[in-house]
């Protein structure tokens, strides 16, 4: 790897808190490469997160970083972006943070189509608090609060984002590490609210409860259970059964929120 990750990492802030085998670090490296590809300047980029293992990511990166409260990243970031539309605003967080407690802010950020990129690290569990089920935990799975199997159905986060109005939605996995930066870079370059769901793993609180004997098994699962959208086009419904699609799932051009608000300002000033 020719990338100089150090250039973007805050001096003295490593080692990170993540467990060995946790996918969050793979996502962080992908994000760094994407930021590098897009040429984002540190002072002009805000990285905003909620609370959780995934949400610790901003602290390691040398940008304007905002570690907010559980679930509130999208709402804090909306305030930053409204006041400084010229800033690049990137949100990161876990599936629990983004789709449970933060679900309302998430869908409304999608609906507004405000120009920010949201990277959701979906390990299907509340890692930080020790493995309680999240809205992304599959039915039947074990979590510390579903000892008899999870009765809840799970969200399809990418579908949720599309349904709520996000104008760029992609999905990758921690196994396909070399794809992550490309998806994130495309999301950053898209004007509007872009969502990149990265399926990753939590060996510590999810894997061990759900019969994954090792991180390698979890990574293999990410590989086996997913199919790139392009490849899926040539596959039969039987072949696609139980598979999750990866790649760019949705892309649309729609008016962006801060640009629309600039028009509000113009109308208000014309009427003055």
């Amino acid at each position: 790897m020719a990338y100089d990750y150090e250039k973007y990492i805050r001096p003295g802030k490593l080692p990170h808190i993540w467990c060995p085998g946790c996918g969050h670090g793979i996502v962080m490296k992908g994000l760094i490469r994407a930021i590098d590809t897009c040429g984002l300047k540190k002072e002009e980029t805000a990285i905003v997160s909620g609370i959780g293992c995934a949400s610790r990511l901003p602290g390691y990166l040398d940008f304007c970083t905002l570690h907010t409260a559980h679930g509130r990243a999208a709402a804090f970031a909306t305030g930053v972006k409204m006041v400084r539309p010229e800033m690049n605003v990137i949100l990161v967080g876990g599936d629990g943070d983004g789709t449970a407690i933060g679900g309302n802010h998430f869908i409304h950020a999608c609906r507004r189509n405000i120009d920010m990129t949201y990277i959701i690290m979906n390990n299907k569990i509340y890692g930080m608090t020790g493995g309680q089920f999240s809205p992304a935990t599959p039915t039947g799975d074990k979590a510390s609060t579903t000892p008899y199997g999870n009765p809840d159905p799970a969200f399809d986060i990418a579908k949720l984002a599309i349904g709520a109005g996000a104008t760029f939605v992609a999905r990758g996995t921690a196994f396909h590490a070399n794809q992550i930066d490309k998806l994130i870079a495309e999301a950053i370059q898209h004007k509007g609210f872009s969502v990149v769901e990265i399926l990753d793993d939590c060996p510590t609180t999810y894997g061990r409860r759900n019969k994954f004997k090792s991180v390698i098994e979890m990574m293999n699962y990410l590989k086996e259970s997913t199919v790139p959208v392009k490849a899926a086009e040539k596959m039969s419904p039987e072949q696609l059964k139980g598979k999750v699609l990866t790649g760019v799932l949705y892309k649309e051009d729609k008016p962006e929120y801060t640009e629309e608000y600039a028009k509000v300002i113009a109308r208000a000033q014309a009427a003055k």
């Binding site: 802030k13 602290g59 570690h67 709402a75 804090f76 305030g79 930053v80 400084r84 800033m87 802010h105």
Partner: protein, 377 residues
């Protein structure tokens, strides 16, 4: 040139006061009886290039408010009871991360949905203790439309000066009544902006106490990059659990207000010097109280009015002094004794505190207060 005069509602005056103070961002969620603040801001902010956003709920509004302020502008939100409850976690975030902002909370009957259109003064403890953990609290309680305007300007000044959320809490009567207001000229009222860093970005630390208890705050997007978190933090903004740092930082956050009480506290004394009976009242209730005090004086009773304009920090020392010379206090309030409890807490038992507690959606009337004044022997 004659000054601009208008006939405004308290809520409208809060919005105009915010604009006078230089507010450029509003994030809110509609709730009676505060909505007019948002409506006026939605009209006026874009005219001056400011931004207004209606968020998905009060939590989102509080979050956007903090994000907007961190991006470098003065920021306002408005709400009422249920909304104030929802904002609490993030008010604490504002306190620990030290992000200036102003929250207008119009007091209506509670708890829960309570009485949406009825006046109340029962959010006053929520303004101090609503969010968990030790934290500074500043809360202003204006009693007239003119005062709503002026105190909103002061709320911004205190928020910016002490880098902390400030609440201004008119009761529903003050928020909805219309009165004549004289707009101060630009420059007539003091307007304070947060201290910008004097060091270059490479030397900047967001909680650098070598600049005193209120470290300068840089803005995101202004060339400075730094970390902000709701965890207990060090001077460079990064989390820590080191006992001595956490202790020192928590104490500093509270000290910002405690050590500057003289600057923050504000109250009015009316006929206090020779008073035997002192009515302690704020907001619309103080208007009934003033009337009652005048009536009492006409009847030969030496009554006086003590009117907090800053409720938090509360003027404890002054009330203690007064308590040594009086026969009794009256606490008329639209609450079941929150203010009376605060008074009792600072007068060391020197005088009885007689309450008139109304939570029926009706104001405390002057007659009730006069009757109570007469009870003090």
């Amino acid at each position: 040139m004659a000054k601009k005069v208008a006939f405004l509602q308290g809520n409208e005056a809060a919005a105009h006061g915010a604009l006078y103070a230089g507010c450029k961002f509003f994030a809110g969620y509609p709730i009676t009886p505060s909505t007019e603040v948002a409506e006026v801001m939605s009209i006026e902010l874009p005219k001056i290039g400011g931004k207004f956003i209606q968020m998905e709920d009060e939590i989102g509004a509080m979050a956007a408010l903090l994000g907007g302020s961190l991006a470098g502008v003065k920021a306002l939100t408005s709400t009422s009871g249920p909304g104030l409850s929802l904002k609490q976690e993030l008010i604490g975030y504002g306190c620990i991360a030290e992000i200036p902002c102003v929250i207008v909370n119009v007091m209506r009957g509670g708890p829960s949905t309570g009485m949406p259109t009825g006046p109340s003064q029962s959010d006053i403890m929520c303004a101090k203790w609503g969010t968990h953990g030790d934290h500074p609290a500043i809360c202003l309680v204006p009693a007239s439309v003119q005062e709503v305007f002026e105190e909103t300007v002061r709320a911004f000044n205190l928020a910016e000066k002490y880098r902390t959320p400030v609440m201004i809490m008119p009761d529903e009567i003050v928020a909805h009544m219309r009165e004549r207001i004289v707009f101060p000229e630009p420059g007539e009222l003091e307007v304070i902006d947060r201290t910008a860093p004097s060091v270059t970005p490479d030397k900047y630390k967001p909680y650098d106490t070598s600049f005193g208890d209120v470290p300068p705050l840089a803005a995101f997007g202004s060339g400075y990059k730094f970390h902000v978190t709701g965890l207990n933090k060090m001077q460079d903004g990064f989390p820590t659990t080191k006992a001595e740092i956490v202790q020192a930082e928590e104490e500093r956050q509270v000290r910002k207000v405690e050590a500057n009480k003289a600057d923050i506290m504000k109250w009015e004394e009316y006929q206090i010097d020779d008073a035997d009976v002192v009515v302690v009242a704020y907001g619309s209730t103080s208007r009934s109280a003033r009337f009652a005090v005048d009536e009492a004086r006409r009847a030969g009773i030496k009554a006086g009015l003590f009117r907090p304009i800053t409720f938090w920090p509360f003027p404890e020392e002054r009330l203690l002094e007064i308590s040594k010379k009086v026969k009794g206090f009256i606490s008329p309030e639209m609450s079941l004794g929150m203010c009376a409890g605060v008074i009792k807490g600072c007068i060391e038992g020197n005088a009885p505190v007689l309450g008139i507690f109304r939570v029926d959606g009706e104001p405390v009337n002057p007659g009730q207060i006069l009757d109570k004044i007469k009870e003090v022997k």
